[in-house]
């Protein structure tokens, strides 16, 4: 206990190993080992919990991906080698799901980021009703995703009585164009509904970033005659870089996995099935366990490749926050 007191305040500091140069090395290492375990003990429940529930299933998925296993044909269960992977890679549905996932994530995260930054800049000044506007802005994020998807599909996009076409009738009268939003642009419809929910998320993090900026420096620059654009380019953006990266990283983690909107708005039809929906369908509807698992393994490998890069970013982000 007491041996640890000196290092306890420095999370980043190396744990002092007092073995070298000590007169009684054996006793000290044993003490240190006991200390190590008393340090580890509080961590273990959470660590074991996460390993069992979030890691073991993926290993099981890996095993199943090499099996021929369809619940509709239980007698044909057996080893399949790489058949499932060959099918996953040659299947046009999978390729389309990969492309849709990438498109969806890049578009939603990109557009939400730009909008979020613009709105955060608007909210980063004192004006009448600022608190109310902030509250209004947060509202979309607090609607349960399925409910939001239902709202967009039925109350806004519906070609007959949705608010969008209703507004068109208001503006242009009876012969107003009445597009079928979802059928004409299925993917864009999903993107818009998702951007509506994720812009507040980006805005909140970016606004917090803007407000942590030392305003006095900006004031000083303004006094010295710097233009608003100059201040934004050379002072605000560099300061905001880590906040932008953080919100993009976190947003991407959630949007890549989006299931609710695809499931609700198009049911994966019209070429909008992303990987989560595709795997759900292969496993839940088609009951093709082997193939669903192979697709799952591909997703995990792809995620690991992207996540390694993302984690490196995250690492630099969070270590900058350290004392």
């Amino acid at each position: 206990m007491s041996a640890d007191a000196t290092t306890s305040g420095m999370p980043g500091g190396p744990v002092a190993q007092s073995g070298a140069g000590s007169p009684v090395p054996e006793r000290n290492t044993r003490l240190a080992r006991a200390g190590d375990w008393s340090r580890r003990a509080p961590l273990l429940p959470a660590l074991i919990f996460v390993i069992v529930l979030a890691q073991l299933p993926f290993i099981a998925t890996l095993v199943v991906s090499f099996m021929n296993w369809n619940a509709y044909y239980p007698d044909e269960r057996g080893f399949a080698g790489f058949d499932n992977f060959v099918r996953v890679f040659t299947d046009s549905n999978t390729r389309s799901a990969v492309i849709v996932t990438i498109l969806l994530t890049v578009l939603v995260v990109g557009i939400s980021l730009v909008l979020g930054l613009a709105i955060a800049l608007l909210l980063d000044r004192k004006f009448v009703g600022r608190g109310i506007v902030r509250t209004l802005m947060i509202t979309p994020f607090l609607v349960v995703p399925v409910a939001a998807a239902l709202l967009w599909k039925h109350a806004l996009y519906n070609p007959e009585y949705g608010l969008l076409n209703g507004a068109l009738t208001w503006v242009f009268g009876d012969d107003a164009p009445q597009p079928d939003w979802i059928s004409n642009n299925p993917l864009i419809s999903i993107v818009v509904a998702l951007v509506w929910q994720w812009t507040p998320f980006m805005m909140l993090i970016l606004l917090a970033g803007l407000q942590s900026r030392p305003l006095d420096v900006v004031e000083a620059a303004r006094i010295d005659g710097a233009s608003a654009w100059q201040i934004f380019r050379s002072m605000t953006l560099p300061h905001m870089r880590q906040y932008i990266e953080l919100s993009a990283l976190l947003g991407a983690i959630y949007v890549v996995q989006n299931f609710d909107h695809v499931f609700t708005i198009t049911s994966g039809g019209l070429g909008t099935a992303n990987l989560p929906y595709f795997i759900y369908q292969t496993f839940y509807t088609a009951q093709d366990y082997g193939r669903a698992s192979a697709a799952g393994v591909v997703v995990v490998i792809g995620t690991i490749i992207i996540a390694t890069a993302a984690l490196r970013t995250a690492f630099s982000l969070f270590t900058e926050e350290e004392r």
Binding site: T139, V146, T169, S212, V217, F263, V300
Partner: protein, 316 residues
Amino acid sequence: MSATSDGTVNETGVLSATRADGIRRQWKDGAEIAPAGREPQAVNHAREPRSHVLLTLAAWMCGLLFALPVAWMILTSFHKEEDAATNPPSLFAPLGVDGYRAFFDAGPWPPLLNSLTASVLSTILVLLLAFPAAYALSIRPVKKWTDVLFFFLSTKMLPIVAGILPIYLFAQKVNLLDNIWLLIVLYTSMNLPIAVWMLRSFLAEVPAEMLEAAQVDGASLITTLRKVIAPVVMPGIAAAALICFIFSWNELLLARVLTGTVAGTAPVFLTGFVTSQGLFLAKVCAASFVVSLPVLAAGFAAQDKLVQGLSMGAVR
């Protein structure tokens, strides 16, 4: 102008002054020294009010635009079905609670209670597991604590859908399908990384000197936790609880695959709500609003906690 001279005075002067403080002083001095009514400032003063009004207007427009769909949802939920589905929309149709009556007649209480059970219990479990873990990653850190921290984050990046099949098969085998406890455990593992990250970032701010002082004074672990750690970490616990509650309440994929008629949650109930033909818009809007209400209430009540939670404690 006088920035350099003030700056050096500051650097040699007050020891604890932060950079911002120093600069604030510079700018105040500068303003005092600056001759009143300089050209650029005068221009700024003349132009500012109008651009300010425009910016305020733009901010209000954005806020109203983003809130509009929710406002429309609430308004529609109070309309009669035949008024809800008109084109052009009937803004001023008579209000009523038929939509809500239809929703509550459909038996939403079991799913709502399931959602509440799963969200609250999993949040409690998350906090019970995350707090000791965060302690072991900050106050008395294990070796390679950063590796452990990033291991937790990496599990958050693995798509749930890729692990759902083995979970389903396992649950089928041990008769846990359609059991709320399965969801509670899974939601706990889903949210645990977020809570560990958040609580760690708060615990890391507990002043080391105070911990040492407590130790020197012979305070017990419980006393140290209560008197030294709790005041710093309480906001973090609140933020973590808020975000874990929201994410559990919102979850659809796991609930849809692993539950049925008994343990189905509110989002699953919602997806099954639009099967009937005919007019249903008011009913769906009422249902969506009721199901979103707990999240809306919690989020509005704790807006600052929301930011902390969403950024996993990286932004305060």
